[in-house]
């Protein structure tokens, strides 16, 4: 540090648009929340090898279909962003609509899955594994619902050609929800 005046540096900020930077900070916070939850589950799961028995009652087929649905929705979401950067707003709105429907499909499948499991006697109180199952998938489903609301808002604005940068922001969020599911799926459905 000097007391003398110094020339201005050419550039001081990161070059990341403010909105996108804010979203990344938000996603980092989300990462730690879901990460903390997953860590708790993993630790207790390692302590209780007998949970494998319960985990066998989750359906890897339904879970797999849902993973496919989410992966595809991520594809349509990123395509919508691409369309925005190419100036094809109407195509972007259409792709956002497809993403929205895929998100809804995920939730519908999830509801059927829950119904089936609860009828089978596997409620949230059945065992700690199921408590974790409902907490983790439930929290994830809440994020999907939040994402659907956000996508709807962005779509309405984008139709009028406004706030197009938000397509990217909501996309970043949506991909993170996808990434969380990519980990939840093996944790709850596959690993024995």
């Amino acid at each position: 540090m000097s007391n003398h005046a110094q020339p201005l540096p050419a550039k001081i900020t990161t070059g990341v648009p403010t909105g996108r930077l804010g979203i990344w900070w938000f996603l980092a916070g989300e990462t730690v929340i879901f990460g903390g939850l997953i860590v708790c589950y993993v630790l207790l799961r390692l302590h209780h090898p007998e949970w494998a028995e319960h985990a066998a009652h989750t359906s890897w087929i339904v879970g797999g279909i849902n993973t496919l649905v989410l992966l595809t929705s991520s594809l349509t979401m990123v395509q919508a962003f691409k369309a925005v950067t190419e100036g094809k707003t109407q195509r972007a709105v259409g792709l956002l609509g497809v993403t929205w429907l895929l998100g809804l499909a995920f939730l519908v499948i999830k509801v059927f899955e829950y119904t089936h499991e609860i009828h089978g006697g596997y409620t949230i109180l059945a065992n700690l594994f199921w408590s974790f199952y409902y907490l983790m998938t439930g929290l994830h489903a809440l994020h999907i619902i939040g994402g659907l609301v956000a996508i709807a808002v962005v779509m309405v604005r984008a139709r009028k050609g406004k706030d197009l940068q938000r397509v990217e922001y909501v996309g970043l969020y949506w991909h993170l929800v996808d990434v969380v599911w990519i980990f939840l799926y093996p944790l709850l459905y596959i690993a024995s």
């Binding site: 005046a5 201005l8 001081i12 930077l21 804010g22 730690v32 990460g35 903390g36 708790c40 302590h47």
Partner: protein, 558 residues
């Protein structure tokens, strides 16, 4: 166009108004927290007597009092005033921008915080009373309502804390994005005032440490409401898991509220000693090191909680190592005074008191940090005295210092120095009278959170110290009266402050007092570091950050 009353004072998106909203809400909560402390201190000094202004204190009421005192002081006083209040007020002003990056998010953040405060206050009025599980909320005590008899108070506590975290996360995102992207031209990271460094370090620490606890709070809420067993051993859960999650957050949280307080000190010291801060980079790096270390020390709160005893030693070593970066900080502050020209303004007195008291808080931390000594000291009044000597000074004393220092930027007027001096003297005397005896009580083995020290024979001959401490705490509360008078009187009738009453160098002092909408009349450009006081090549003993080359010596004040 003049904004409507609602837009200007209630649903404001202006960072200065939001800062005032945070501070006033925090001060109101501080009064509540102080009142709770008064009630249980009287109970401790004269057990069983009816407390004037409250009534008799039952045992569960006592537990609720200490729980809510801790919760309120950490989450509803320290965080909103120091982090959110000073952060909102100072970040845009100090980095030379017109507002936060996301003004509307900022407003949402305050309103979320206000709702959380109301929920917390409401928990006193629900059947069963407020939460009585200790501010650390350890399960299984907190995981089942029947263990304490508190049902709704506990639910509301978790909800309120969760909302408060959400609010502070939004605020943190705002702070970090603003500082990264909206600094004035020329304001590189190493020209930032140290207060900004402290605020963003605190925000980063909060953001990365709170996640696991939020996950834990979801689990705990389900345990309480639905009856799951995430933390109940009979269901396969583990009570220690929550303690780990809590303290993984809890230790960085200490620095979240400590660092902004130290930031106030680093701003006030150079101004009032007319001398550049000693070791700017050393302070920045030691803050970063302390922040990093704070993520790997959490188990020192759990030495005797049943954790694997082999873990204690590594955690004890990392804990004790933390004394090094803080020693660097304190020594740099003390070295700043060397060969200065010290003016004893009220703000300066408080800043010096922060250093003096923090020294005692810091060295007593070594006793707790040593795993072996902690076997004896854990959960005694020694710990209580220790963390009040670190946090009371960082939160309350630094807050007062900050308010006296930046009052012109909040209300355009100066606070009264005479009343300030009285406030300072009484606060320091009674603060030490309250907490010094508690070190002795801790040595005696007086454990925490008991409503009646007379139930244990070996504590009987130390009861006089409890009385002394209570007298101190009552005096400490009364000592705030001059401040309240000063605050409201100066707000309306204080001496008009010019732009730069302290002849300070950082950017907030080139704005009008109080700054108008948009803060700066013309966007500032920064040419130098933040603390150029008494430069050797000038007659003037201060040189603002925005003064271009060739104009040195043309500073005018105020």
């Amino acid at each position: 166009m003049e904004p409507s009353f609602l837009r200007k004072y209630v649903f404001s998106v202006d960072h200065k108004m939001i800062a005032k909203q945070y501070m006033i809400t925090g001060l109101v909560m501080a009064v509540l927290g102080g009142y709770l402390a008064y009630v249980f201190r009287v109970q401790l000094a004269w057990p069983g007597e009816s407390v004037p202004g409250f009534g008799p204190v039952g045992e569960n009421v006592y537990n609720a009092l200490v729980t809510m005192h801790g919760t309120i002081m950490v989450f509803w006083v320290a965080m909103p005033i120091l982090l959110a209040g000073f952060g909102n007020l100072l970040i845009p002003l100090m980095i030379g921008t017109d507002d936060m990056a996301f003004p509307r998010l900022n407003m949402v953040s305050y309103w979320t915080f206000l709702v959380s405060s109301l929920l917390l206050v409401a928990s006193f009025m629900v059947p069963g009373g407020a939460a009585a599980m200790g501010w650390t909320f350890y399960p299984p005590l907190s995981a089942r309502a029947e263990f304490t008899g508190v049902i709704w108070g506990g639910h509301l506590w978790i909800l309120a804390v969760a909302l408060e975290f959400a609010s502070m996360l939004m605020g943190g995102i705002n702070f970090l994005t603003t500082v990264v992207n909206r600094r004035a031209p020329g304001l590189t990271m190493f020209r930032l005032p140290l207060m900004i460094w402290m605020l963003i370090s605190a925000s980063v620490l909060f953001m990365f440490s709170v996640g696991p606890l939020i996950a834990g709070a979801f689990m705990l809420l389900l345990d309480r409401t639905v009856g799951t067993g995430f933390f109940m051993p009979e269901a396969g859960g583990d009570p220690l898991l929550f303690q780990h999650l809590f303290w993984f957050f809890g230790h960085p949280e200490v620095y979240v509220i400590l660092l902004p307080g130290l930031g106030v000190v680093t701003e006030v010291l150079p101004v009032s000693s007319r001398k550049t801060i000693f070791g700017y980079r050393a302070i920045v790096y030691s803050t970063i090191v302390a922040g990093l270390l704070s993520f790997v020390v959490w188990a020192h709160h759990q030495f005797i909680s049943g954790i694997n005893p082999n873990l204690a030693l590594p955690f004890s070593i990392t804990t004790i190592l933390i004394s090094v970066p803080f020693a660097v900080f304190l020594f740099c502050c003390i070295a700043t005074l060397w060969r200065g020209s010290i003016r004893f303004t009220t703000a300066m007195l408080f800043a010096i008191a922060v250093i003096a008291e923090f020294l005692l808080g810091g060295v007593t931390g070594i006793v707790n940090g040593s795993a072996a000594a902690d076997i004896y000291m854990h959960d005694t009044y020694f710990v209580v005295a220790h963390f009040h000597y670190t946090l009371f000074q960082a939160v309350i004393l630094a807050m007062f210092g900050g308010i006296y220092h930046w009052f012109p930027k909040m209300f355009g007027r100066m606070m009264n120095e005479g009343l300030g001096l009285a406030h300072f003297g009484l606060t320091i005397v009674f603060f030490n009278l309250t907490f010094l005896p508690q070190f002795a009580l801790g040595f005696r083995g007086h454990h925490r959170r008991i409503a009646n020290p007379e139930s244990f024979d070996w504590l009987a001959d130390m009861q006089g110290l409890n009385v002394l401490s209570t007298i101190g705490s009552i005096g400490l509360l009364l000592a705030q009266i001059p401040f309240v008078i000063n605050f409201f009187h100066s707000m309306f009738a204080g001496k008009q402050a010019g732009r730069n009453p302290w002849q300070a160098t950082t950017l907030e002092w080139i704005t009008p007092s109080p700054p108008g909408h948009g803060n700066f009349e013309e966007a500032p450009v920064v040419y130098r570091g933040p603390y150029v006081y008494s430069p050797p090549d000038s007659e003037k003993d201060w040189r603002p950050q925005h003064l271009p080359a060739g104009l040195e010596g043309t500073e005018t004040a105020p």
